[in-house]
């Protein structure tokens, strides 16, 4: 009998970038499996290049491997060439550290980062020889768990999972594995374990809940069917964020991945309530790390990895309360070590000249803004507090500093959007062009390029827009055409995004349990790697919807009333329903809401969750755009 390693190696020289399939990277953790009690396969349902860039995986990998008798390994979706060879040669999908098949693990965990990766979960389970349907998996099969932002509405995926982890994972993963270790020793069944697991806060076991529907197709009730299961599952939050576990080692890949650099998380949550942005709500409240903590973590990771670039991870780095001190202190270190400091989410409205200069020395690539909407009115609707004046002011500084490339990101299909708002996108870009030519020739850089990139708006759960219909494909096409008509300068490049996958995204994001059979059917028809344009099979998906008798419009294009029972209403992300309703109404009145730093708006999060700004005295009624 050949070993797994030999069998795998025989295939490696036949595929693209084989180093992705054999492990052995610096920082990967290898243990003696005879001394390990709990084995966890952390699976990222996308390719290695994408998955290895994901911070959450690095955190939970390090966290679990801290325990001597637990072993967490990694697994990714193989590319089509390698997946075919695995099937041809009867090699089950395996984890990269031990090269053992996933079916030998206690847990197989998936992080659900985006809806279009759902079908990769099915494909990976199947490649591993694990039945995709939870009800078909016996006690000899691993417990399949899910986490990540998409599990704020995991309902379309409930057929395939045994358990979901709601919210932040650092504490609950430990509690769950400890419970498992004890129960495994006692020889308990999977069902017995799940019944105990639901007592841990943040653990959601879908089979313990029954869903009923109204005649009009909306959800009527969601009720627990065992007494241990809570009526509402509340997300987990790390209250003491400065002291939360952070890995002191990363797995350093051999092949180039999407974000190939050290990453340090500086803050979690966001103070800005942009109404379209799910991350801005599900990761609340805003918490941050001390400068010393950040600096130590940066130093430690740079030394361990040998990376030449470190990036600060957060939803909005400039909102750190001491951003200037933080950057000065980091730049001292990184400059000395000749390491590039990347700041991917620096907001333009706090982008001082001084700051610009500081990072200009390390980043000459170009300037990006996300105004999201073309007019001030529509930016007020979505509560994107970024004014035209701010954009133009920063552009002027940038042009004077020699920049000549500006990227502008927008969304089409936002609530209450008119064709004038769409034309506003072109007008804003034109103003940037005009501004460039106002800057003296000697100062500005050569070869101006302003690019407009538009995505289709997808309404998401746990946002003030969760009630909104998505624009139909026809409406979006009309808006795209209108935008192109209004762009006259050759300096402006417009790229619009494929509309079809945002329909699917919209359906899955706000879907219910009935979508499980559509996902299954589509997967059977060969739909996976849907996030990759070259593999996305929209027609197959539509066939699957047809065969299952499910109308995409019901999920994507219907306005939902405030009192409709949402498929995710048994999950509590701490921000209150009342707040979302209030924000939705304000959106339609084009009224903005101040950010948490300016003053709390009473979204419902309690002080004990550790938010920097939460719990200050406030009067929700008095809060309005005047602040």
């Amino acid at each position: 009998m050949q070993s797994m390693k030999e069998r795998i190696e025989r295939l490696l020289l036949k595929v693209q970038k084989p180093a992705r399939y054999i492990g052995g990277e610096v920082g990967s953790v290898v243990k003696d499996k005879s001394k390990v009690d709990v084995r966890f396969a952390f699976c990222f349902p996308d390719t290695y290049d994408v998955g290895m860039s994901h911070l959450g995986m690095k955190i939970l990998y390090g966290l679990k491997n801290q325990r001597e008798n637990w072993w967490c390994e990694r697994c990714f979706m193989p590319e089509v060439d390698f997946a075919a060879l695995l099937r041809e040669n009867d090699i089950p999908l395996y984890a990269l550290e031990s090269l053992d098949p996933l079916s030998e693990f206690d847990f197989v965990g998936f992080t659900l980062q985006y809806e279009l990766s759902y079908n990769n979960v099915l494909e990976m389970l199947d490649l591993a020889g694990i039945p995709v349907l939870a009800k078909q998996r016996g006690d000899d099969m691993p417990i399949v768990v899910g986490g990540g932002p998409c599990v704020c509405n995991p309902e379309p995926m409930t057929d395939f999972f045994d358990l979901f982890i709601i919210g932040e994972g650092e504490e609950v993963n430990i509690e769950l594995l400890e419970l498992y270790e004890n129960m495994k020793r006692q020889g308990c069944t999977k069902l017995e374990f799940l019944k105990q697991a639901v007592k841990i806060s943040g653990v959601y076991v879908p089979q313990f809940y029954d869903v009923t529907y109204n005649d009009d197709g909306t959800v009527s009730t969601i009720t627990p069917n065992i007494e241990q299961a809570p009526a509402k599952v509340t997300k987990r939050v790390i209250a003491d964020f400065d002291n939360v576990y952070y890995p002191d080692a990363f797995v350093v890949p051999f092949t180039q991945i999407v974000h190939d650099r050290a990453v340090v998380e500086v803050l979690r949550g966001c103070i800005r309530g942009c109404r379209f942005c799910q991350a801005g709500f599900i990761y609340r409240p805003f918490r941050e790390k001390n400068i010393d903590t950040i600096k130590n973590e940066t130093k430690c990771l740079c030394e361990q990895t040998g990376y030449e670039e470190v990036s600060l991870s957060s939803l909005s780095t400039s909102d750190h309360t001491r951003i200037n001190d933080l950057l000065s202190s980091l730049v001292d270190y990184t400059d000395g070590e000749k390491i590039n400091l990347a700041l991917p989410s620096l907001r333009v409205d706090t982008f001082s000249d001084e700051l610009l200069e500081k990072i200009a020395s390390v980043r000459k690539s170009g300037l990006t803004f996300a105004p999201e909407a073309g007019t001030q009115r529509l930016r007020d609707v979505i509560n994107k507090n970024l004014t035209e004046e701010e954009i133009l002011r920063t552009c002027r500084t940038a042009f004077e500093g020699g920049y000549a490339t500006v990227k502008l990101y927008f969304m089409l299909g936002l609530p209450d959007e008119t064709l004038d708002d769409v034309a506003g996108i072109a007008q804003l870009a034109q103003k940037v062009v005009d501004l460039y030519f106002e800057v003296p020739k000697e100062k500005r850089g050569k070869g101006l390029q302003v690019s407009i990139s538009t995505a289709t708006f997808v309404p998401k759960p746990f946002t003030p827009f969760e009630f909104e219909p998505q624009d139909t494909p026809e409406q979006i096409l009309e808006k795209q055409a209108h935008l192109l008509r209004n762009v006259t300068s050759k300096k402006i490049k417009v790229s619009t995004h494929m509309q079809k996958n945002s329909i699917l995204e919209a359906v899955l994001a706000r879907g219910d349990r009935r979508l499980g059979k559509v996902i299954y059917t589509a997967w059977k028809k060969g739909c996976y790697l849907d996030g990759w344009d070259e593999h996305f099979k929209f027609d197959k998906w539509m066939q699957a919807f047809d065969e299952c008798g499910i109308d995409t419009k019901f999920y994507a294009n219907r306005r939902r009333s405030y009192d409709e029972v949402a498929p995710w209403s048994h999950l509590d992300y701490l921000v209150s329903h009342e707040f979302f309703v209030r924000e939705n109404k304000k959106a339609h009145a084009a009224q903005t809401t101040r950010n948490c730093k300016q003053g709390c708006s009473g979204c419902g999060i309690k002080k004990e969750y550790g938010g920097v700004y939460c719990g200050a005295k406030h009067n929700a009624q008095a809060v309005d755009s005047a602040n």
């Binding site: 025989r10 052995g24 350093v252 092949t255 180039q256 030394e303 990895t305 040998g306 000749k338 020395s361």
Partner: protein, 234 residues
């Protein structure tokens, strides 16, 4: 105000000490492409915290040179990497510090000062072993037949996207060819370096294709990087 302008990195006065490392790449590291491998080495150097010399100019980066690429899938214990430090350290210390930071399948064999110039590399030698789909002896006979051909022409794409026929026969020197149980073991010398480079897989693919032979895993080991006169490159 000229006196106020100090270059960010005043590397101009910094001394440069040249080093040449011989390293091994095998096992799991076999599957790292040359481009990826160069990046990995850069990180090994960075992790080693050696006082490494950076290139000068606007965008300074660690100076490393690889005179010869090792094809993906080929093992070696004779690969060369040149780099420089800003301090004179003992070769053994440099070897140790680098070696500590290498992942499985990468080893620093020795560190010394460069003797030859990169352009002096002319040949490389290889040990090749594979289990053919036909009996080993039969395969060996075919190989010997292959090697007694007048010409071995292969197709080579030019930059203009036309296909040229190139005769590789004169470039192949077989050092030994024998069977080892079910395997065929070959040793050969092929041109390497800047002027002309011939990879083992080009030769073997031509052989396998001509006789319709299939094979299970093929193990290729580069054993020597040599000068015109056959001596090792150091």
């Amino acid at each position: 105000m000229a006196q106020n302008i100090t270059p960010k990195l005043s590397t101009l006065q910094i001394e440069k000490f040249d080093y040449r490392a011989v390293y091994a790449k095998y096992g799991r590291a076999r599957y790292i492409s040359h481009l990826d491998f160069m990046r990995s080495m850069q990180r090994i150097i960075k992790r080693s915290r050696l006082p490494v010399w950076h290139t000068q100019g606007f965008n300074p980066h660690v100076y490393i040179m690889f005179p010869l690429a090792l094809p993906l899938g080929t093992d070696s214990r004779v690969e060369i990497m040149d780099f420089a430090l800003t301090e004179k350290l003992s070769n053994e210390q440099v070897r140790e510090q680098l070696g500590e930071k290498c992942p499985e399948g990468i080893e620093i064999i020795s560190v010394s000062q460069p003797v030859h110039k990169h352009t002096e590399i002319k040949y490389a030698e290889y040990d090749i072993k594979f289990k053919p789909s036909i009996p080993a002896q039969e395969c060996l006979d075919k190989w010997n037949g292959f090697m007694s051909l007048e010409k071995i022409e292969i197709e080579k794409r030019t930059k203009k996207k036309t296909v040229n026929l190139v005769d590789i026969k004169p470039h192949i020197t077989v050092i030994s060819a024998q069977t080892q149980g079910e395997q065929v073991a070959l040793q050969m010398r092929l041109p390497a370096g800047n002027d002309f480079n011939l990879n083992t897989n080009v030769v073997l693919d031509a052989f396998f294709e001509r006789y319709g032979i299939e094979f299970e895993t093929i193990c290729t080991l580069r054993t020597k990087i040599a000068l015109e006169n056959g001596e090792s490159f150091t």
